[in-house]
């Protein structure tokens, strides 16, 4: 069969090594890095969530509400907003990254978000069980 102009151009470029295919390992490294970042994201988010719960119980216990307006003012002034905001940002970024892995684009954003939250909850529970080994309380005492 007679070659078309485009076939000739493309095959010439391949033969002359003007275009080279990227190696399998390049793609493997790319996928693995993305998965690694997602894993780190989940771990970091679980640590931050554990820290948020701990700081709320330490600095702004719910009993403050029984002191009326002053108690509420103290609660909202001392609430660890930055930790909570960080956790939300990590949940959103984790969901975006997770939707780029494998066939996850087929799933709706809600489903990917739910999967991400489930992973974070599992990681947070594991972290909660191991928190004594991490000495979280003395570390967070500095904040």
């Amino acid at each position: 069969m007679k070659k078309t102009k485009l076939e000739k151009q493309i095959m010439e470029k391949i033969e002359n090594k003007e275009i080279k295919m990227k190696s399998k390992w390049w793609f493997f490294a790319k996928t693995t890095s993305l998965r690694g970042i997602i894993l780190l994201n989940i771990l970091l988010c679980s640590i931050i969530l554990s820290a948020t719960v701990y700081l709320v119980s330490l600095k702004t216990p719910l009993e403050l509400f029984s002191y009326g307006n002053i108690g509420m003012e103290i609660f909202f002034n001392d609430f660890p907003y930055i930790w909570l905001i960080s956790a939300v940002v990590l949940i959103i970024s984790g969901t975006i990254l997770l939707s780029k892995v494998g066939d996850n684009y087929r799933k709706t954003t809600k489903t990917v978000l739910a999967i991400n939250i489930v992973f974070i909850i599992i990681a947070t529970l594991i972290f909660g069980l191991l928190k004594n080994s991490f000495n979280l309380e003395s570390w967070l005492g500095r904040f």
């Binding site: 076939e7 493309i10 399998k24 087929r106």
Partner: protein, 180 residues
């Protein structure tokens, strides 16, 4: 030999087999890109060449358990969208006579009279880009929901919803044409 088998052999080092891929997809992708960007043949050929180059460079990332046609259509779609963004065009579906004949399914689906065929294709150009892309792939390229989902990277369920909405919008546009 299936597309996936050819790709496997290319991945294993038989680079010359890439010619078979170009041969199989040159025409199909030419018409697809032409419909997407609605530009002269030379421009379409440039985009097409970029598609084949990009596909060759990234061929090791293709999972041979999946459908190759969806993968290469995705690249063609992305390159066409890049071109459209670069020259700030709107996706405009060609009103070729041949296409009217080929796409009776669309005419049936939007339930229009024979004499309104031309209006259907004009109305497609009034649709938002996201709907136009789905209509183009479903009616012109005969792609399944699964394939459209892979090409456009959208959830499979959304494909059906978007097609339904596109048809509803087309019906409204056509009613307005009739009134006017």
């Amino acid at each position: 030999m299936t597309d996936e088998e050819i790709v496997k052999s290319i991945q294993d080092g038989n680079k010359e087999n890439y010619e078979l891929i170009v041969e199989r997809y040159e025409k199909k992708l030419f018409f697809y890109i032409k419909k997407m960007i609605n530009q002269p043949a030379e421009e379409v050929e440039d985009v097409l060449q970029e598609v084949f180059i990009n596909s060759y460079i990234n061929i090791q990332s293709f999972d041979t358990k999946k459908k190759f046609s969806s993968w290469i259509y995705r690249i063609a779609h992305n390159k066409s969208v890049d071109y459209i963004k670069k020259v700030k065009l709107k996706i405009k579906i060609c009103e070729d006579d041949d296409l009217f004949e080929e796409n009776n399914k669309l005419i049936e689906d939007v339930l229009v009279e024979e004499e309104n065929k031309t209006q259907v294709f004009r109305s497609i150009n009034l649709l938002e880009e996201k709907y136009k892309e789905v209509v183009l792939l479903y009616y012109y390229e005969n792609k399944s929901y699964e394939e459209i989902s892979e090409i456009l990277r959208i959830p499979t369920n959304n494909v059906g919803v978007m097609l339904f909405r596109a048809k509803e919008k087309l019906k409204v546009f056509l009613k307005n044409y009739e009134k006017n």
